[in-house]
């Protein structure tokens, strides 16, 4: 066990009451969701139109929820910051979506998908939620096919499946490399159908900047019209956040440029607990950083590891040589060397860390960015020899083309270079079984909540979770909440509304007023470097403490020295970014505190102090088998308060993993 240097770690946080009730029904796991649905109150169709729902986010989670609640007859207002709901970041998912259909008769089942997800999450997720996810997964495929999602099919006309992310059954449905796009277009079309039907009002190019909590309930949001700059108040009976992940706290990630934490962070500051903020997934096969100008990183499907071999030169002197001239005996196929049985197919986190280590040793390849070369070879030479160029192109053609477009190098001739990048955040707002946060009336869906993936997410299960939440879970649980409504009528003069609007106005004014010397991006980059260095693939107590100091200093400087030009009453992209970076600067600190307090390694969270002799992540179930739900410590710099939700495993036995 990692030794703790002092009390509650340097007074960085305080501990509050544990969370006792997650509202999951008891009983056999297979019956729980039916029980909950049956117990959930009904709303008379005639009353639905009088009940209003705000849904922020139009990705798979938000888009699906808005369409479904619109169909049910509620009055829905839907928001996104892009110019169209169809552009939410879900569009970028490539690989596929899992569902326990067992179309291949290869032994898959709801229970197996549940089991794999709990195990994949390294025993840090809630069994009831995960089981429900597996249970509704099959309905998702039916729904999408009915909407016209063009999944890959076999010659007989039936749906094709592949195996994905190291599992032994073929349960992944896909649409070439565009699964996210096709699923999202399905949800988007269903949403636009409701816009036409008059049940959904669409607000695109709108950014939510505050949640309104009145008399103990979430009752609305403050949003800025990004075109006119107008700060608007929107009120409703219930608010849903489906605003995606916060990987952009690292500046460079595979997320879209606009992905942000603002919506969930503002809610956190208003009382919503933030669950497991330090759980981040780093994906091993991304295209490395090319230079200081880099604005984002591009993922390449990890299926490339099935046929590509990963290596670096044995000697640092060889790192700037043409790789084709480095003879076999001078190459280090380090994954094959260290993990002889899994080789290049070890899980994402192990492959990522191993790449970091060889580069830290000075054996990375590609251009120097800063002091180091950050890249390793992913070599298809053997595959080309074994399979023919045509066969490789048939299987991986579009990925190799994408690589060539971005790097200008031909992967059929020169080994590709890859490096890990931040890809997904398992943490998010804490929610109960109903997906309700600790603020009554504030529900959270998709990547924005912490719910189903524990400390690590399996491939092809984020799309599944987004659509499960949006199509099937939320519409049932929200109904139960709305059955208590409509709530007392609010108007713009209510003190909570006035306060929320005033705080947004003040913040915008402040950002424009500072007129310092540094651009927003320069702060964001610096924050990203700190997070990547100290709260990235490997974390230590010393590094995290240092990061917290660095972040605090940077945040101070930001509020003194940022330069945001332009006005508030027009399209102003620097202002948009400034607000997002300001929130990342607060989130980053909480992520470090969470990582610091969790003195174990689990899933995507690797504490160097907690590893086995073989260098594997070592969990401490006796002490850390809980969800860390953080309460905001107050605007006056109070320390965040930790609430623990104990994780009880009744149906799956906890095991330590091994890939040697």
């Amino acid at each position: 066990m990692t030794q703790q240097t002092s009390g509650l770690i340097h007074g960085l946080y305080a501990e509050g009451d544990p969370i006792q009730d997650t509202k999951a029904p008891a009983g056999p796991i297979a019956d729980r969701w039916n029980t909950r649905k049956f117990e959930s109150a009904l709303v008379n169709p005639a009353n639905r139109r009088k009940l209003s729902v705000i849904i922020v986010g139009t990705g798979l989670a938000g888009g699906a929820a808005a369409a479904t609640l619109g169909e049910a007859g509620y009055h829905v207002k839907s928001f996104c910051y892009q110019d169209s709901p169809r552009r939410a970041h879900s569009i970028a998912a490539q690989g596929g979506i899992n569902a326990a259909k067992n179309y291949k008769e290869d032994g898959d089942s709801t229970f197996r998908l549940f089991y794999d997800t709990v195990k994949g999450g390294d025993y840090r997720s809630r069994e009831s939620n995960v089981y429900r996810l597996a249970e509704v997964s099959a309905n998702i495929i039916d729904q999408c096919v009915a909407q016209g999602v063009p999944f890959a099919r076999e010659y007989g006309g039936l749906l094709d499946n592949r195996s994905f992310g190291g599992v032994q059954v073929s349960r992944t449905f896909y649409a070439r490399g565009q699964t996210g796009q096709q699923l999202l277009i399905g949800a988007y079309q269903a949403l636009e159908r409701q816009v036409a039907a008059g049940t959904v009002e669409m607000y695109s190019r709108h950014e939510m900047l505050e949640v309104i909590v009145a008399d103990g309930r979430a009752r609305g949001i403050i949003a800025r019209d990004l075109v006119t700059g107008e700060v608007e108040t929107h009120l409703a009976d219930v608010v849903v956040l489906a605003t995606g992940g916060y990987g952009n706290v690292f500046f460079l990630s595979t997320n879209a440029m606009g992905s942000n934490v603002t919506a969930t962070w503002r809610a956190h500051r208003k009382g919503a607990y933030f669950g497991n903020p330090c759980y981040t997934q780093i994906h091993p096969t991304c295209i490395p950083v090319a230079g200081e100008h880099q604005s984002k990183l591009t993922l390449m499907s990890e299926s490339l590891r099935n046929d590509g071999r990963i290596w670096v030169p044995k000697r640092a002197e060889d790192c700037d040589k043409d790789p084709r001239e480095i003879p076999e005996e001078d190459r280090d196929y380090y994954l094959e060397r260290i993990y002889p049985s899994f080789g290049n197919l070890v899980p994402r986190d192990i492959a990522s860390r191993a790449a970091k280590y060889v580069c830290d040793e000075g054996r990375g390849v590609g251009p120097k960015v800063g002091d180091f070369r950050r890249g390793v070879y992913l070599d298809f030479t053997d595959a080309l020899r074994r399979m023919s160029k045509e066969a490789v192109a048939e299987k991986y053609g579009n990925l190799l083309d994408m690589y060539q477009r971005i790097t200008g190098e031909n992967p059929y001739e020169v080994p590709m270079r890859i490096y890990p990048a931040v890809h997904y955040t398992m943490g998010g707002l804490w929610v109960d079984y109903d997906l309700q946060s600790s603020i009554p009336g504030l529900f959270v869906a998709g990547e924005a909540n912490f719910s189903d993936h524990g400390a690590n997410r399996l491939g092809a299960s984020a799309l599944m979770q987004g659509l499960a939440d949006g199509y099937f879970v939320l519409p049932n649980t929200i109904r139960d909440y709305l059955a208590k409504g409509p709530f007392e009528k609010l108007d713009d003069s209510h003190e909570a509304v006035v306060e929320a609007k005033a705080s947004v106005d003040a913040r915008i004014a402040k950002l424009l007023e500072i007129n310092g010397d540094r651009t927003v991006d320069s702060f964001h980059r610096e924050l990203g470097n700190i997070m990547w260095e100290y709260c990235g693939m490997e974390r230590t107590e010393e590094g995290l403490l240092k990061a917290i100091d660095l972040i605090r200093a940077l945040r101070d400087e930001f509020w003194r020295n940022v330069r945001v030009l332009g006005a508030a009453d027009t399209l102003n992209q620097s202002l948009e970014r400034a607000g997002r970076v300001a929130d990342f600067l607060e989130l980053g600190e909480l992520m470090c505190i969470d990582a610091l307090h969790r003195r174990e390694s689990c899933g995507g969270h690797f504490r160097a102090e907690s590893q086995t002799e073989d260098g594997e992540a070592l969990r401490h179930d006796d002490e850390f088998a809980y969800v860390a739900a953080w309460e905001w410590g107050g605007d006056n710099g109070g320390a965040p308060i930790l609430h623990k939700e104990d994780l009880v495993y009744e149906f799956v036995e906890m095991k330590q993993r091994s890939y040697k």
Binding site: R87, I91, G180, A290, H293, G408, L565
Partner: protein
């Protein structure tokens, strides 16, 4: 490798009703590995440092899939390669080049600011009928309706459209028929799309015309500019479907 020096001529327009103009910005030491938008990021950082308001342009995924980016680069929608603006890299240019950068130009896509345009007309075309009516929960088992592979593949090909609007920007008539044809083909090739097929095409074409997009005169620039290489024959399918729907009395 040393960087390139380029002269950029960029459309600046303060707001929807403001008068716009081309402004010249020299940029130096541009790495060929930068994407076109990263080059604009670098310029914007420099403008901010000089106290000039940065240039507004749209982008989000920066990996060629969300359809948010889109610029007329030296007169070509998305520039000289068959790809999106965000996936265009500076190695496609040479030292000393002069590059003009403008927003999409079309009545149906009014300029909001600088290089940012309003493309909500596309959403309204989808609202008119670009969907299959299948309420959540009402779906039959996915395998109950097999789809012949050639049809599934063709549907998929058309569904690859990212709604970027390059087809409209490239068309001398500013027609949205390639976008429209892609949706008609995506849904029309599938058995699930049949019940609404006639009504869909009529409603979508009406909305398209109502938004102020031009008609198609078979010039073919749309397909050449399309980053997803949607073929022109989706417009043929659109016309066939429309004729069929009209003979069915729609």
């Amino acid at each position: 490798m040393t960087g390139m020096n380029l002269t950029l001529k960029i459309w600046r327009q303060a707001g929807p009703r403001a008068k716009g103009e081309m402004v010249t910005y020299p940029v130096t030491d541009i790495s060929p590995d930068m994407s076109f938008l990263e080059m604009l990021d670098v310029l914007n950082e420099q403008l901010t440092a000089r106290g000039e308001e940065p240039i507004a342009f749209d982008s989000d995924c920066r990996e060629g899939i969300c359809g948010m980016c889109g610029l007329m680069i030296s007169g070509k929608a998305h520039g000289p390669e068959v790809t999106t603006t965000c996936q265009l890299h500076m190695r496609s240019f040479s030292d000393g080049d002069e590059i003009t950068v403008e927003p999409w130009r079309a009545d149906a896509f009014p300029v909001i600011k600088d290089l940012v345009v309003d493309r909500e007309a596309f959403d309204r075309i989808i609202q008119a009928g670009g969907f299959i009516s299948a309420n959540t929960g009402a779906a039959p088992e996915a395998h109950s309706v097999p789809v012949p592979k050639p049809k599934a593949d063709r549907s998929f090909m058309a569904a690859a459209c990212i709604g970027c609007g390059a087809c409209v920007a490239a068309c001398p008539n500013a027609s949205g028929m390639l976008f429209l044809g892609a949706k008609i083909t995506h849904l029309g090739e599938l058995p699930q799309g049949q019940p609404e097929r006639d009504a869909r095409v009529v409603a979508m074409v009406n909305q398209h015309d109502h938004e102020g997009f031009g008609g198609c005169t078979n010039i073919g620039e749309c397909s050449l500019a399309c980053p997803k290489e949607i073929p022109q024959d989706v417009i043929n399918q659109l016309n066939l479907d429309l004729r069929r729907a009209l003979t069915h009395g729609h």
